[in-house]
Every structure is written in structure tokens, then in C-alpha cells.
């Protein structure tokens, strides 16, 4: 395929899965002629028709509820919720129905639905269009949570999500839509629950995902020039998360830094940090650290929004400070 955008990679994955399996379909607002907020559905309605790329009313509860019903009854819907913020309009259906139906019904049904909820800041989208809510879904039994950081992953993980028989919360990052990367169109679905070590390093383990991967790698590069070797792990899947890879790395480096764009308090970084503290206490050479957004709504004004973002310099200085502690 060559180099394409993150949005195009997602589009390709969906297209391939829809070609492969007639039970796969997508529904959401404005995914037809408009092709989705980032063109991630562009022209798919032309290819697959109005019954498989379904433009819906502004009815988030029913978008989600109907997808659950359709999933239980033998199809494989891909739900587009546009922004994770609007995912909250369907929180009940996601948590009380999608996540639990299989269990409550004693295994009689499966709910193979992909629930796309793009996350993250995007230039001035302000308080109601900028949230990263991954921590919520990780907390809910029954859900898989995926957060791809690269075009290749958005292709291979979306394929995996569509083929999964579990309900998958699929969180693309809005600021990644236009980023580009090499994508192998023939790539197999990526295994869920497998992290990628994006950069090897011996002094400190940096765990991140989604929109913070780029800045984390840049920071690691900068830290290297100050003599600190940072291993950067991209989790890719937040539930299940790749505890083995993280634990192996922390066992080697003795230091853990988790970086995410979501609010730090109660973010998924807390879970990783707690797990590492519980299980690798003896291996830790200094206190673990977390970096995330402050506990404020996302402000509109540019410099205020910028303050909510974890800056590469913050990552570097945290890494240096951790090395200095021991």
C-alpha cells in the first residue's frame, strides 16, 4: 500500500473486512456521503450501499442499542460515535448491555460490536469534544479497549477488533487522523493485548499509547542526548494490556513512567502504576511516575489547552529526575 494516513488506514481495514465478511456493516452519523469526520468512511457507502454504511439519526442511545441487538443476532456492526464525549450518550447501552449481555445470558450470545470513540485534544475543540475516556472502559468487565497510535496499527488493530467476538471500544486519536505511515495492506489482524516496544532502552520504561506516542519518542530521543536510555512501550491495547511486556521491561530498568493525554487522576496510568507497584515492588529503583492532564475541563484558549498537554520537555525532565533519584 505504501504510505497512507491513519484515517485512510482505518478506512482500508473496514473496507477489507466488509469485502471479506458480508455480516460486517457500519452505522453512525454522517458516515455516508460525507465519509465521517475524518474521511475514515469516504466512498464506502458508494461501494457497499446504504444498508451496510448506514447514516443514522442523532440518536446515540439507539445507535448503540441497535448495534448491540444486531450483533447478538448474527451481524458484526461497527459503531461510529464521532467523539468519545458523545460516547457518554450511549454509556448505559455500552456498559449495561454490550459488556454484560454474554455473561448475564450465561454465554448464550456474543456481542461482536466495534465501538469507535475517537479521543484526545484537537486544536481548540474545547471541553465537550476533547476528552480521553479510556480509563472508564477499562474498568468495565466484558469490554476490550484498543487505542492505536500508528497508521499500521489502525489498520491491523481495526481488523482485529472487527473479527473479535467481544465488544471492543476502539479509540482513535483525533490528532492522528492526518499522520502518515507505511501500511501493508495485506497485514494480518494484529493480536489484541500485545504491546509494541517502539524504542529500546535500559534506564527507564516509559509506557504510553495513542496520541502520546510521538511526543514520548521525541522525549526519549532528547533524553538519550542527556545520557538516559528510555524504553518506550506503546500499549496499543489497554484491555487486555500487555502486562508481561511492561513487567519484563520494568524488571530490567527498575523505573516506570506512564504518559497519557487523559486526566491523570483516575486515568489508566493509575492502574499500570498500581500493578507495577504491587507486583514489581522489589525491582523498582525509584518511585514510579505518571504524567497526564490536570484535573480540569479542557479549556478552549490555546495557551491554556497547551498547559493541559503533557509536553515532551516534561517527559524528559521527569525521566532525568527519576534517574537522579537513584
Amino acid at each position: 500500500m505504501g504510505v497512507i494516513t491513519y484515517a485512510q488506514a482505518a478506512r482500508l481495514a473496514l473496507q477489507q473486512e466488509m469485502q471479506r465478511d458480508p455480516r460486517v456493516w457500519a452505522l453512525g452519523e454522517d458516515i455516508g456521503p460525507e465519509g465521517g469526520v475524518a474521511g475514515q468512511y469516504l466512498d464506502l457507502q458508494r461501494e457497499f450501499g446504504r444498508h451496510r454504511i448506514v447514516d443514522t439519526p442523532i440518536s446515540e442511545s439507539t445507535i448503540m442499542g441497535s448495534a448491540i441487538g444486531a450483533a447478538i443476532c448474527g451481524t458484526r456492526p461497527v459503531v461510529e460515535l464521532r467523539y468519545a464525549d458523545f460516547g457518554l450518550c450511549a454509556a448505559d447501552e455500552i456498559v449495561n448491555q454490550a459488556a454484560k449481555a454474554r455473561y448475564m445470558l450465561g454465554g448464550q450470545v456474543r456481542v461482536p460490536v466495534v465501538i469507535r470513540q475517537p479521543i484526545g485534544f484537537r486544536e481548540g475543540m474545547a471541553a465537550q469534544h476533547s476528552q480521553s475516556t479510556e480509563a472508564w472502559w477499562v474498568h468495565i468487565p466484558g469490554l476490550v479497549v484498543v487505542a492505536p497510535a500508528t497508521p499500521a496499527d489502525n489498520h491491523a488493530l481495526l481488523k482485529a477488533a472487527i473479527r473479535s467476538d467481544d465488544p471492543v471500544i476502539y479509540m482513535e486519536h483525533k490528532e492522528l487522523w492526518t499522520t502518515t505511515g507505511e501500511v501493508d495492506a495485506q497485514a494480518a489482524p494484529a493480536p489484541l493485548g500485545r504491546a509494541a516496544i517502539r524504542r529500546e532502552g535500559g534506564d527507564l520504561t516509559l509506557v504510553t499509547w495513542s496520541g502520546m506516542l510521538g511526543d514520548s519518542l521525541a522525549a526519549a530521543e532528547a533524553a538519550q542526548s542527556k545520557g538516559v536510555s528510555v524504553e518506550v512501550i506503546d500499549l496499543r491495547t489497554l484491555w487486555p494490556w500487555d502486562r508481561d511486556t511492561v513487567f519484563d521491561s520494568v524488571a530490567r530498568t527498575g523505573r516506570l513512567l506512564v504518559v497519557h493525554q487523559a486526566v491523570k487522576v483516575g486515568g489508566f496510568g493509575a492502574e499500570i502504576t498500581a500493578e507495577v507497584a504491587e507486583h514489581l515492588f522489589g525491582a523498582l529503583r525509584c518511585a514510579p511516575r505518571r504524567l497526564g492532564a490536570p484535573r480540569t475541563p479542557v479549556p478552549y484558549a490555546q495557551p491554556l489547552e497547551a498547559l493541559c498537554r503533557v509536553a515532551p520537555t516534561q517527559i524528559v525532565s521527569s525521566a532525568l529526575a527519576m534517574l537522579a533519584e537513584t
Partner: protein, 329 residues
Amino acid sequence: MSLPLGLSVERIHAMYQRMLLMRAFDEHAGLARRENRLRGSVHEYTGQEAIAAGVCAMLRPADYISSYHRGHGHCIAKGADPAAMMLEIYGKAGGVCGGKGGSMHVADFSLSILGANGVVADGVTIAVGAAQAVRLLGEERIVVAFFGDGALNRGPMLEALNWAKVYDLPILFVCEDNGYSDHTRTASVTAGPGIVARAEAFGIPADSIDGNDLLAVACAAALLVGEVRTGKGPRFLHATTCRWRGHLALDRGLYRDPEEVAGYAAQDPIARIAGWLLDNGVAQATLDGDAAAAAGRIADAVALAEAAPCPDEAQLFTDVQDAGASSWA
């Protein structure tokens, strides 16, 4: 007497037998809950049996139904095994959901029953999705969504009506109007000219009937199911009825007039249709036998359920999810 729409005394009689089974099941379930022989929420269907019986009698095995918190009757009407249901509400191994769901989640997918549901109106959005799947897969089935009058005030319910009509889905909405939303008179929190008008405002043809009259239900259902089955799009049936018991088995009952409740007996859908069956040549002895059979079947189910073992502890971790159901969580 000649009956319309392919109905016959035999078919009505069979519906009657199902109603007896529902009644016996829920009279026991409520009692068992009050005696703490089982746990959780139990919503008795007693008094509303004609609706499930009349509607489900018009369905084929492949037709889906979805239900709500007051769901035992719909499952029985669709053919679920009362013993497996009883095991379920007792939380025992062999329950139709393995004992993991309980009363609010009884379902038998092998009979195309999508399940009771503990969240008001959520079963309706699931039902429209089932109809969408039917359409997409080119299947012959239709879908019936049962829900209460209280559900008509929940946004997702109203969205689902619009949705069904926008995509012209093969679904019949059945509103069981017992006048109460939990402990509140539905009329006191519901505006406008009525439930039928609400459905019509979304372009869905709607009928209103006496839901305590099995013949009326069966006739209306036969017509509407036929329309849905022949691709005419969604239909809506509004059936008035009476909820004899409390909202749930442990209801304190502070909010309604005991006299009103006492008056419900005169509407008893079972007594009414029994009278009609007698008038139409079914012997009293037969009806007595039916009652005894239902009672016996439920007694057997209860005995089975009370004696059955609980689910194995390992069941806690089964059927959570494929990816990430690791023991360290």
C-alpha cells in the same frame, strides 16, 4: 363459533394453557421472593398474561422477541421451559442463563428470546437492532419488542420508534399499559393525547386494545404480525391491562388504592377466556385439568430448582470475554 384470522378454539385453548403456566410461575416466584427462598428483583406478570400469550401465539419459532424487567411471561409464551427458568431465578446450575442472570435476565436464545432486561427501554433499542440484522441477513423473521407504559417516557424508546420507521424494519412494538411506572401512576408523568399518538407521531401505525381480552389481543396481533411479516414496516400495539401485584415482589404498596387493585380481579384475563372456552365447547373438566397440569408443572419446576446445586465456582470467570479474561484481573 367461527373465528377470524385463522384462529380456532384449539389455538385459543393452547394460549389459555400458556397463560395458566405464566400465572402459576409468577405466583410462585413472587411468593418465593417474599419468603426469601430466592433473591433479587422479581416482577410478577400476574394479570397481564393475555398479552404475551396472544402475541407470541402469532409468532414463529425463528421470530425474535425482546422483553423487559417483567419478563417471565414473555419467555413462557415463546415456549421457554419453566423448569430451566425456575432454576434461573433460583440462581441454580442448569438455569437457562446458568444462574448468572436471574429474573431480570431470563432469555432463551435457542427460542429467539433476546431476554428480559433490567434497564427500562434498553430491550427496545436492542430489538430494533435485531430487526436490522434480520434485514441485513435477508432472513424471514420478524421481531416483537415488549415494554411497559413507563418506557414511553425514556428517550431511547422514542428514538427507537423513529429508527424503526426510518429503516422500515420488521418489528412489532407491544406496549403493555398497566397504568403504573413502578410506584408512580404513569398518567401523572406522561403528557399528550396518549401512547397511540406518540407512536403515530413517528409514522408508525398503532392500535389500542383491551389487553385483558385474549381474543382481542390475538386478533390484533394476528393482523399486525401479518403486516410486519409482509414487509409493511413497523407496527405498534397498545394493550391496556392490570398489574395485580406490587411493582416487584417486595413492594410496600404505599402508592395505590387497595380497592383499585381489588377491582382488577373482574378483569382477570384467565377467567375471561376460560368463560369463553366454556361457551365454545371446552368442558369444565378440561379446564380443571389444564389448571392442575400447570400447577403440577410449576410444582415440579420448584422442586427441581430448590433441590438443584448452585453453579460451579468456576462459572464466575466464564463468558466474560475472550480477550483479557485472564485470572490476574
